[in-house]
Amino acid sequence: MRACVWCGRQLQTTLTLAQIWQFTPIAQATVCDTCRQRFTAITSQHCPSCGRQQVDETVCLDCQRWSGDRLTNHAVYVYDSAMKAYMQQYKFQGDYALRVLMQAPLAAALQRETYDVLVPIPVDQLTWRTRGFNQVTGWLQNQPFQQALLVRATHKERPQSAKDRADRLRTPQPFTLAPNAGQLLRGQRVLLLDDVYTTGRTLRHAADQIYLGGAKAVTSLTLAR
């Protein structure tokens, strides 16, 4: 008997004959069907620029305000109350075990993207020490990626999540290119990976740097929008 990593309910698991034979404990965590189905997948009817769920496929109002600074983002799930609860426990309470919930959906989403190099949005040194993980790379299993971006340890007077839209849009460029970024990026199609698309400010800052590094094209994928 194993328990669901999120809700803690006991799961009926069918062991394969090989597992019984080898009598090895199963180390990887599991998720129950109810928890898997809590999230709302974004359909093909989304904003072509930011990936937000809509009733049609026109560019949404937020994206129209970014006129001239276009980015093509795809998102896997709607940022609804279930996703907020998930992010709260995974990212803010730091429950790294919950990364397994998103590994399979994200692997499927990456399959649908066209790119040469995958670049996750990095976390700064302080976050790495205190949180202990990068919430984005936690969702990757064996997919190769490059840490082409570095992030300045910004002494934040307020966390990003406490800012309103206007504050966020004024956020200065936090990223720099890693020393070997030129080799990694030149002439490549780059896919940026982040957790939540809120205003698109972070991803556009990252994309600007990736282009400076010589990339041919930059698109992005986020877990939620």
Partner: protein, 438 residues
């Protein structure tokens, strides 16, 4: 900036040593190949590890994550309180003679620092029975926690204690609240919050000790032991102690005071057990046990109002229909999530309907004078021993109608029903000793 008082009798997780001389220990202790969280006592799984190599405890995550980078800091509890006369008691109410006997017994055990169970039937006024002992303890400068596994019990209790003990500073602690922590002689908190304390309390009152999840959680039981000073004691309050506690009482490992009588001094009605073999199969053909039909027709003829308890929400429409067919009409079905529930309960109180078919014990404090209770399928696992005793306690609440019938129809004899009857018999034995009337 941390205040010294914040460390008194607590275990505060920090990444670096504070300047006040508080003593630290690793939050996660390594024992051989395994790691144990020193806050909640649970063992870490091999997968409870962060990408940077640190370990973390998932079991007490809700209180803020502990990692192998943390130390838990404490300053031994100094009881740095201003002594107040009478322990700050401002309550002016009167205890009944029966309550007073129990209150004196509780006080005696607290004075001798003896762990103690107060086994009081619902409606006996157990909170007030603790007041004399609590007043004495606070007057000694003791640090006291009043804790319950249920947050609703804490929220209901806090204003009552603030009124009754107006002269003493009190803190209310529960998950997700905004108020900052305060060092006070009296702390009212959920049992989870005790995990933040270490050897802090001279006395811990555990309210509803049988309530979920305390009864089944070694983590919470350990929280009580750890939060109590080694020379301290605890007082357990319940109407329906579980098997473990009853066994400790029988083996005389735990002192007990009974309050077996309700305020009107009458004994609890015993559950009348009747076999209804394969009643579920009969129900498939819309048929109910003939003894049940006979009994309910009799109630209707005598204008005796009743509650019919059934195991599951899905049983409600089926049984309601079968009753209709048998000519037992006029009642309504109600369950916990029923949107019309308040209106239906009110209709029953107003005596505009003759009976309710229900799955739940309804709210605490909802009483119907002169009511009979019938349970169909009392052997179903949803009816725990505690629930059966509480259902029986629905009968005879009012002083004008202190007795009544409780009938339980079962497919077979079960341990739970037998234990419930045993518990009522045991309480009534104690009750007769105290002069209780049938």
């Amino acid at each position: 900036m941390q205040n010294d008082e914040d460390f008194f009798g607590r275990q505060l997780p920090l990444r670096g040593a504070p300047t006040n001389g508080a003593v630290g220990q690793h939050a996660l202790r390594t024992v051989g190949e395994r790691r144990q969280c020193q806050r909640c006592g649970q063992w870490l799984a091999v997968t409870d590890r962060l990408a940077n190599g640190d370990w973390y405890c998932r079991q007490c995550l809700q209180l803020g994550r502990l990692t192998s980078q943390h130390e838990l800091y404490t300053i031994p509890e100094p009881n740095r309180f201003v002594r107040v006369k009478s322990g700050g008691l401002t309550w002016t109410g009167q205890l009944s003679a029966q309550q007073n006997v129990a209150a004196q017994a509780v006080l005696r055990h607290v004075k001798t620092r003896t762990d103690h169970l107060l086994w009081a039937v619902t409606g006996a006024g157990k909170t007030e029975i603790v007041y004399p002992a609590l007043a004495w303890a606070l007057a000694q400068g003791w640090r006291v926690a009043w804790t319950s596994p249920r947050v609703d019990v804490c929220l209901e209790l806090a204003p009552r204690l603030r009124q009754a003990f107006g002269g003493v500073a009190q803190a209310l602690l529960y998950g997700g609240q905004a108020d900052p922590y305060a060092y006070c002689p009296l702390t009212i908190c959920t049992t989870h919050q005790l995990l933040r304390f270490k050897a802090a309390f001279d006395l811990i009152v555990v309210d509803e000790v049988d309530a979920f999840p305390l009864a089944t959680s070694p983590m919470l039981q350990r929280a009580i032991t750890n939060a109590q000073k080694p020379q301290g004691c605890h007082l357990l309050l319940t109407a329906t102690p579980g098997n473990d506690l009853q066994q400790q009482v029988r083996r005389r490992q735990l002192a007990v005071t009974y309050v077996p009588l309700r305020y009107h001094g009458h004994l609890l009605p015993q559950i009348d057990l009747r076999l209804a073999w394969r009643w579920r199969e009969g129900l498939l053909r819309n048929r109910l046990p003939s003894a049940l039909i006979h009994q309910l027709r009799g109630y209707l003829a005598k204008h005796q109002r009743f509650l019919l308890f059934v195991p599951h929400v899905v049983d409600l429409p089926v049984i309601g229909q079968a009753l209709q067919l048998a000519g037992i009409q006029g009642g309504v079905t109600v369950h916990a999530a029923d949107p019309d529930r308040p209106a239906k309960v009110q209709a029953m109180r107003d005596e505009t309907i003759p009976f309710l078919i229900t799955t739940t014990i309804l709210e605490r404090g909802v009483t119907f004078p002169n009511i009979a209770v019938v349970i169909l399928g009392g052997d179903d696992p949803v009816f725990s021993t505690a629930v059966l005793v509480q259902i029986a306690g629905r009968v005879g609440r009012s002083a004008d109608f202190p007795s009544g019938q409780v009938t339980c129809y079962c497919h077979s004899h079960t341990k739970r029903v037998r234990l419930a009857r045993g518990m009522i018999a045991h309480l009534n034995l104690q009750g007769r000793r105290q002069g209780g009337r049938p």
